[in-house]
Symmetry: C3
Subunit: 158 residues, 3 copies
């Protein structure tokens, strides 16, 4: 068994949960582990490009696309969101404490070789096209995830 691999399913698109996922991923990568983050459902919002990208969608997929946040800078919190004040407050204390922003954590993960996989099945459902997601992201379904998880000794669902 490979004890140096970790997988994290990022189901949530909440600021705080994505932050937790990225901190664990970066920590494990810094300790020499292979890390795979599998973004599915609302978690896909964390790896969207910040700007709108034209893509062919059904009406409902277009609605999902418009209503959901584009990228880590737009995520809301799971608690104390206060109509968007929560992430601003959290950003303030993060800055004051010298903590990395979500964007910096995401960049660090990529630099450290954390593998980012977008769930193709939920992309189809929510109407996300590859050109809307960050460059360098890989693509896969549940079989891809299970293959990665079988090689890992820590598998989290966030």
């Amino acid at each position: 068994m490979d004890t140096t691999k970790k997988t994290i399913i990022v189901f949530s698109g909440d600021f705080d949960k994505v932050m937790a996922a990225l901190i664990i991923a970066n920590g494990a990568a810094a300790m020499g582990d292979d890390v795979t983050m599998f973004f599915t459902f609302w978690g896909l919002n964390a790896i969207r490009k910040p700007k709108k990208v034209k893509a062919k969608k059904s009406f409902l997929q277009g609605m999902f696309g418009t209503m959901m946040p584009r990228g880590v800078k737009k995520l809301g919190m799971s608690k104390m969101n206060f109509a968007g004040m929560g992430p601003w407050m959290m950003g303030k204390v993060m800055k004051a404490e010298g903590a990395m922003t979500l964007q910096q954590l995401l960049d660090a993960a990529v630099e450290q070789g954390v593998k980012l996989i977008a769930c193709t099945m939920t992309m189809d459902l929510l109407g996300f096209k590859k050109e809307e997601l960050l460059d360098g992201v890989e693509y896969g379904g549940v079989a891809t995830y299970l293959g990665e998880a079988d090689e890992a000794n820590v598998n989290l669902f966030i």
Copy 2:
């Protein structure tokens, strides 16, 4: 160590989270893995029979029972529920994309031999009786769960 077993605690009763759990369970079962889903707290709603079943309950348990959804067709979403519009929208895009419904995913899991265990402790709390839950469901507590998890190489809490 048995690398062909997976366990999923289905704590959430949200449409989207139950869907994720069922997709992982079906995927693993299709790849030949033993899969155990352990339904607890709100997750129990996913394995309720759709019709009301008479059962002796305390007043508060009756309230819980009445307010909570009966079965996968009645689950709300964790995000963008829009007073029930969310699951309808999701159902629409799932149909358009040819994805399986929650009911079909649940049926497939049963057909593939996924073991469904209802948490007896939370059943007692919320006042769920065996006759209210789907036929074929097994029953157990935390010791049952831990016994299953000890044999598995992937254990998720959803």
Copy 3:
């Protein structure tokens, strides 16, 4: 591989999720397992002292501190909270069913030797000082968590 260790990240500060975490932790400890609970983000609320403790904080940290619940007796539910009625209802059915309260579950975990670790990074962000958290709690960051998780065969994120 040590099959007798379990870790649980308690990210959520919801009554029901903390309850699930404590039940699993107590169950595993009762079966002879080593158990580590790693409290981070809103989960830290579960291990706050019930009374206000004076501590030096920034304005925003003070706001976080004031708005967040102090200890297990003040936690809200993830579903059906009903402005605080939910935990009361749940407390009522728990009492009627002879179930342990959150406080009793927490005490039992400590008595059984479950290791409680507070995440120092989120403590810094949210402005929690050690004197505000329960006595006996240990402190650590993501490296501490990963060290524990590498020795465990079941790792959950709740």
